[in-house]
Symmetry: C2
Subunit: 222 residues, 2 copies
């Protein structure tokens, strides 16, 4: 019975995800769903991505948190429109929440919407939000064994950012083992070492994202 | 309707938590539910706690993970019995899982059972497992703003371990602000700065835990 309820919740979410996706397509907006543990550096990565791409693309951010609006305030202080979603207790964003957030954004004016999901390596991986790509961040202090413990999020991600890479020498992080397990779970996802707060490694990630945005544009105009 | 389902799941869990609690009481076992983000240092903290208390108490560990058995193996390599629970996809442990794990432990021989919950700052805080105390770890690299974003877990915890404290100078972590927000959420929980892998700060934490174990023993014999 519990499985049935889960299936129903996921099916309802799928329907609304399809509606979001149609809306994004119609306006030619590329949407990124960024997932990570609490404190892995989602907001810092978004700020670094904005700095790298703001001259080329019009960007907005949707911030998902259990509570507080500190992340949306950080993004707005950076001169970028941001919508804060507070999920109450829920450990992930759902398509219905994204749909309501979209009502407050002018999609015609935007090229890229970045969704910062709730800090969690479990729940967000199950929920399609209508995004073009899910990408995850793992930070070095979390440890190299996380792909073994949280395989699903690594499997659904189209790229993996390895953040706080500048602290590699401080923590007992086995990068070879990390890369090997990620590859066994998901042979297609590139891994981008990054130190988002310092700007290190942002260029390669921004290039990948630009390529994906342009591919989507070609697809929609074809 | 969704709220009703959540209520039903939580109510079913409460019943089984009461059964676990009765079982712990009967055998005079103190049970700790340890919660944290992925990679905050739950297993390292458990290993340090074992080293501090193993001469005084007989200890066993229940390891909760989505997948893999690496943590149980680490505990067993330390000479301590460990049961691995794999939740499949679930983002937290439930009382039914703990009940099954207890069947494999000789509770008569034990003084302390440490439960390592799934790495997550959201889901585990809602589920009573029948434990004597919930305690959480936040690690310095996660950032000082986490109490604002994940208030519930700070509210239900009877103590907060601030792990990887030796990296305070590397990360932009405002300890004064962190302590102030934790205190506003939960005035009773002591905060224990710790570097579990180095053994720093373990003594104060182990003293608090010892005090709690002894209090529970007095309570059960009264």
């Amino acid at each position: 019975m519990k499985v049935d309820i889960e299936k129903q919740i996921l099916a309802a979410n799928e329907e609304l995800a399809a509606a979001n996706r149609a809306r994004f397509d119609k306006h030619g907006v590329f949407v990124l769903d960024l997932m990570a543990s609490p404190g892995a550096g989602k907001t810092s990565t978004i700020l670094a991505t904005i700095d790298a791409l703001r001259d080329r693309y019009a960007i907005a951010v949707i911030e998902g948190d259990i509570a507080s609006k500190v992340d949306a305030e950080k993004i707005r202080a950076h001169g970028i429109p941001a919508v804060q979603i507070n999920t109450g207790g829920a450990c992930h964003l759902e398509s219905a929440m994204i749909g309501r957030a979209l009502d407050t954004l002018d999609l015609d004016e935007l090229d890229l919407v970045i969704i910062e999901n709730v800090g969690n390596l479990v729940c967000p991986s199950d929920f399609d939000l209508g995004e073009n790509a899910k990408v995850m961040i793992l930070s070095v202090p979390e440890g190299h064994d996380k792909p073994q413990k949280y395989p699903n999020i690594f499997q659904v991600s189209e790229a993996v950012i390895l953040n706080k890479y500048d602290t590699l020498s401080i923590f007992d992080f086995d990068e070879v083992q990390f890369r090997s397990v990620v590859e066994s779970l998901n042979g297609k996802a590139p891994i981008f070492p990054m130190a988002a707060t310092k700007g290190d490694g942002v260029h390669a990630w921004a290039e990948w994202l630009t390529h994906r945005i342009e591919m989507a544009k070609e697809g929609s105009s074809a």
